[in-house]
């Protein structure tokens, strides 16, 4: 990728209808284990449109992380059709089409916050002054511009995860993939980061796919919630949310929010077996 394409932000607005960012058709992913192959995802069909905020929710082992990793080309697809921005996941990864936020911040402890955020740009070969400017901009987006010279271990867990979000914004991606990014944080930090993330998503219009275990988190953030179930991993239901925008934490006490959360809990219960 040359510097020109790096500096030019990808188109970000949800104005074009039926603009599919992710298309999955009859997607199957099998894992080989010692005794027998396990079906991690079975016949998954999913369309994600530009500007969507999709939550993948379900019990452990339902393949929500596997689906996210397949989109990111971190896990190979066994069969079926998967397109990311109209490309194969592999080509999309090579084009650095997405930003990925892991369960843990995965910050490199020997680099300052600023140099952690510039890391992807360094690897892409961007000039030093450009990448520092870009990193400062992204750190400001997550509210950490005063912490750029700290080392990761000098920050709290929530701040570290915000740094990793700033880092994921490096390539100005039109697609943000997040794998339970706030799972390890306490509830108060999680609430505040949810508000942060909602604002960031509103401002950038980035298509976001968000893996979570938390019902309130999914309802608060999403435009659509994909409910999955385990053994084999599959999509059970897709719940549309028409909660008003922009959202603040107060929305959680409204009847509409409670009703949606109830629907979601019912759907999860349907898919849950206790074997």
């Amino acid at each position: 990728m040359n510097e020109q394409t790096l500096r030019e932000p990808a188109p970000r607005n949800a104005s074009i209808p039926n603009d599919n960012v992710i298309v999955a058709e009859n997607l199957n992913i099998m894992f080989d284990t010692n005794d027998h192959p396990i079906s991690a995802l079975q016949d998954v069909n999913l369309n994600v449109q530009r500007g969507d905020f999709i939550s993948l929710i379900g019990p452990s082992g339902c393949g929500k992380t596997t689906l996210l990793r397949a989109i990111a080309d971190l896990t190979p697809v066994t069969s079926g059709h998967l397109r990311v921005n109209g490309m194969s996941p592999h080509t999309a990864r090579e084009a650095r089409a997405y930003g990925y936020v892991f369960q843990a911040p995965v910050l490199l402890p020997w680099r300052t916050v600023l140099r952690n955020v510039t890391l992807p740009l360094e690897i892409a070969g961007m000039a030093k002054s450009d990448r520092i400017a870009c990193a400062r901009e992204n750190l400001a987006l997550v509210g950490l511009k005063d912490f750029s010279m700290k080392f990761p271990w000098q920050l709290s867990g929530g701040m570290q995860q915000r740094v990793s979000i700033a880092r994921a914004l490096s390539f100005k991606p039109s697609l943000l993939l997040m794998d339970e990014p706030f799972g390890a944080l306490d509830e108060i930090t999680r609430d505040s980061l949810n508000v942060h993330l909602h604002d960031l998503w509103r401002r950038t219009g980035m298509t976001t796919i968000f893996v979570t275990h938390s019902i309130p988190e999914a309802v608060f953030l999403s435009t659509r919630i994909v409910v999955m179930s385990a053994r084999p991993g599959r999509i059970l239901r897709v719940i549309e949310s028409d909660l008003p925008m922009p959202r603040s934490l107060g929305i959680r006490d409204t009847a509409a929010f409670t009703a949606l959360a109830h629907d979601l809990r019912e759907a999860l219960r349907d898919g849950h077996s206790y074997d």
Partner: protein
């Protein structure tokens, strides 16, 4: 203070045991050498045992005096000056150590990046250290001497043979230590092998490199001394040790021993300094 006190206590105990040992080991000869007409009480025997010209076990005081006499009583470039001998050994140790470290790092890089090298080379790396260095040193000296390489080169080769090993083992482990999530992270950036090495593998491995370097540094002095023995013991602390044992000059041997351990300490100190510097660069953690 809390660190110095225990160390000082042990040191004091060692010195007391040493002086007692010097009395026990030297007394029989000391009594033979004493003036038959002089006093033979306990204190006189102790004095004689602690002040022999060629004692079985010299006292720490004698060793220090002897060293000081050698260092300050001779011109700097006189072969009788222990500092010159130490410099020869240091030259061998540092040259060999540098070569060994470079070799060790390159071997580790090869082993980590190539399955073939991992399978074929790693067993030989481990086997290499099962051969006693004392057995292989004369052969290295003879073999390299036959192709016209004498002096520093064969000695440095022996040091390198000893010191590459901890570096290879440590760096193989270090270069492999990035965890799955770090590797996935780099994959999402479409990182090429070279960048992956520079940005992740190498910096992660630093925490493994420095402990390996400390081991390699102390081994390098051992290696340098062993390497000086079969070369005809012309120069260096190893030569002093050998000459001392030939001629029963225990004080010469102990002097060489003390300087050898000080040399090893200095080399380890230098590694520590490098470690400290890198630590500062990283905000206080390695």
């Amino acid at each position: 203070m809390t660190r110095i006190f225990p160390l000082a206590t042990v040191m004091l105990a060692l010195i007391i045991v040493w002086y007692a040992g010097a009395y026990v080991l030297n007394a029989p000869q000391a009594i033979n050498l004493m003036d038959p007409d002089g006093p033979h009480n306990f204190w006189a025997v102790v004095q004689a045992a602690w002040n022999m010209d060629r004692p079985v076990l010299p006292t720490p005081g004698q060793i220090a005096t002897n060293l000081a006499a050698s260092i300050f009583g001779n011109p700097l470039f006189s072969p009788r000056n222990f500092l010159l001998q130490t410099a020869y050994t240091a030259e061998t140790a540092v040259t060999g150590l540098a070569g060994g470290v470079v070799l060790g790092i390159f071997l580790a890089i090869g082993i980590v990046h190539s399955r073939v090298l991992d399978r074929s080379l790693m067993p030989w790396v481990i086997t290499s250290q099962t051969i006693p260095i004392l057995a292989i040193a004369p052969m290295v000296v003879v073999a390299l001497g036959n192709i016209g390489l004498t002096g520093l080169v064969p000695k440095a080769a022996i040091v390198g043979y000893l010191s590459f090993f901890p570096v290879t083992v440590g760096m193989v482990k270090g270069l492999r230590s990035p965890d799955a999530m770090q590797m996935d992270l780099m994959r999402t950036y479409n990182t090429k092998k070279m960048s992956l090495f520079v940005k992740l593998r190498w910096p992660v491995a630093m925490a493994f490199l420095f402990p390996s370097l400390r081991v390699a540094a102390s081994l390098s002095v051992t290696g340098a001394i062993v390497a000086e023995l079969p070369t005809g013991a012309q120069v260096g602390l190893g030569a002093r040790l050998l000459a001392g044992s030939y001629y029963g000059q225990t004080m010469m041997m102990w002097g060489a021993l003390v300087l050898a351990s000080l040399l090893a300490l200095a080399l380890i100190g230098m590694v520590r300094l490098g470690e400290f510097w890198l630590c500062q660069q990283r905000g206080g953690r390695l």
